[in-house]
Amino acid sequence: MSKIRKLAQASSRDLMVLAIVVTILALVPFGVSRFTLSVAIAALIFALAGIGWNVLSGFAGQFSFGHAAYFGLGAYTVAVTLTKYSISPWLGLILGGLVAAVFGLLTGWISFRFGLKGAYFALATFALAEMLRLTFNTVDFVGAGIGITIPLAGGDDWARIQFEDTPSLQYWVILGLVALSTLAVIGVMKSRIGSMMLAVREDEDAASALGINPLRAKLIAIAISGFITALAGGFYTQSLLFINSDLAFGPLVSVLILLRPIIGGVGTIWGPVLGAGILSVLGEATRSLVRQPPSFLQIIEGVNGLDQVLFGLILVVVIIRAPDGVLGWFRRRRQSRPA
């Protein structure tokens, strides 16, 4: 009991921020259009995937360039268990998380035992995600090249996480998943396991000299990371009502997942959520700028790809100007300011 109290004290600031952020975010559906709400839902899905990525790559320092593997396993588990075995997606989400965690443990055990790190580990994770994509693209049981369509439940159906009439409910469900995952990450990072991860990230040799088992720390990180990212994938299936191998395992998915925590701040509790917010605002802003430009920019109206050019330029500038993400940038400014 005292242990739990100590933990609660140590992380009381994070918990307070969590309560405030969730309360504010929970009010979003009351003031926005249906379209904006769908953008917000997409932002939260990738924020959740980013929270998972951040555990392995941010806190434990093992850069993954193939988190689409976990995202896709979660997405397909929900789709397959629902359409083939009529299992509720709630259970499907948990199952997907477990499948992804086991996949992470197996591949992670092999990769880490063979000493893969840095760029080599990143390339291995990329290759694994691509192999899953190619496999799911050819196996008939999972819809091969066509993919899986989720049948419409019609109306609001809590058991199947489909809310056709009230999209706000869908928003609150994904917000709940984000809140729970953030809570879990706060808990893990304040525990012994979290300290072990940080120690391994900073200096693996020093960590093992102190009696930490780096392999164990990394494997725990990869399992938690895979589980959370798979939750996002499973929810993605339910919000899109369709999944195929490109949407689930494509290289772009891996990029979308890691982009948010990196923009927000790698290895920070709030980086993924903050990054997701910033990126969706930026993405929507550039998209609507190209769709309806001001009169002096008439020529750019509806030009295909221009929003992506702007997006890429912003990305380049952010990486050069704010190398530790937006949170890191704020922190540095605060430190350099005279007291």
Binding site: A127, N304, G312
Partner: protein, 329 residues
């Protein structure tokens, strides 16, 4: 003595397998397909080698994972296409333009972007190059739309009289078809590999590059301008894909993502061959070219890339320093 004996045993085994294979009924029915797979694999493998050499150089000297490498190739492809389409310049003559053009582009990217993240963590370097790739590919989409284009070389089906013998394209070798553009791409790629090897291993500039790769601080102390070397190296790396872009343009659909498909293969080749090794990239490219064609031949219904990824993972785990790399641990 034992080593020689073992080698002889392996050679004997290989010969026996080869003889058995050529006598089998499988061989009789599949001879042409097999020959075609080998030929196609080697020819495209040569291009992979050239793309990978540029990447390997950047990886080995600057320690940067360059995800913009394929996008740079897209610039080479479009440059060559536009020169042909607007001014009728032969794609192989356009090499004289695309190579220096991409060198300059590469130097510029290193000077104004990559230089800022030389000491940054891996994920920032990766994301920066990814951002550059997004900009280049979508700029191509804005300027030239996504419509795939292709060209037809007027002399691709000619007969060439070479004095002693004549070549009638497309050539047939054991039933396999060899088209002229692919043969030229292969030959020029291998030639450029040799030029690059001489440049890196036999010239003063090459010595400076290798010094900067091994010991940047030491190189600085003996008077090498390491920042300048980094710019030149990135320029050379980009020039490689500038050449590769012009070489593949005649037999590829020109589109904004045409180069990107080569990017991940190039990474695999670099790891396979050993980072920074030019002979490694050459052999690695050919091996990967063969692997993808063999996958398609033997594993029905699977993607070409599946076998490539299997080989890649195996190399990563068993021999991460690559076939030609030195053990660092």
């Amino acid at each position: 003595m034992r080593g020689r004996l073992r080698k002889a045993a392996w050679a004997a085994l290989a010969i026996v397998v080869a003889v058995l294979l050529t006598q089998s009924t499988w061989w009789e029915t599949n001879q042409t397909v097999f020959a075609q797979a080998v030929v196609s694999g080697l020819l495209i493998g040569g291009v992979y080698s050239l793309v990978a050499m540029g990447l390997s150089l950047v990886f080995g000297v600057l320690d940067i994972i360059n995800f913009a490498h394929g996008a740079l190739m897209t610039i080479g492809i479009y440059a060559s296409y536009l020169l042909f389409d607007n001014y009728g310049i032969d794609p192989y003559v356009s090499l004289l333009i695309t190579i220096p053009l991409l060198f300059v582009v590469g130097v510029g990217i290193q000077r104004f972007a990559i230089n800022a993240v030389m000491d940054a963590p891996v994920h920032n370097q990766l994301l920066l190059t990814l951002g550059i790739a997004i900009v280049i590919e979508n700029l191509a989409l804005v300027l030239f739309t996504g419509t795939p284009r292709s060209i037809e070389l007027s002399y691709a089906r000619n007969e060439f009289d070479l004095g002693l013998f004549s070549l009638d394209f497309p050539i047939r070798l054991f039933g396999a078809v060899i088209t002229l553009p692919k043969l030229i791409a292969f030959a020029v790629a291998v030639l450029l590999a040799a030029v690059l090897y001489v440049l890196i291993h036999r010239t003063q500039l090459g010595t400076a590059i290798r010094a900067a790769a091994q010991e940047p601080e030491g190189a600085e102390m003996v008077g090498i301008d390491v920042r300048r070397i980094y710019m030149i190296t990135f320029g050379i790396g980009a020039a490689c894909v500038g050449a590769a872009g012009a070489l593949v343009m005649p037999f590829l659909f020109v589109s904004p993502t045409a180069g990107a498909t080569f990017n991940i293969i190039a990474f695999i080749v670099v790891v396979l061959g050993g980072m920074g090794s030019i002979p490694g990239a050459l052999v690695g490219g050919l091996v990967i070219g063969l692997t993808q064609e063999m996958t398609q031949l033997f594993v029905s219904g699977s993607s070409k890339l599946m076998g490539v990824f299997v080989v890649f993972l195996a190399v990563l785990l068993v021999r991460p320093q690559g076939l030609f790399g030195k053990v660092q641990r």
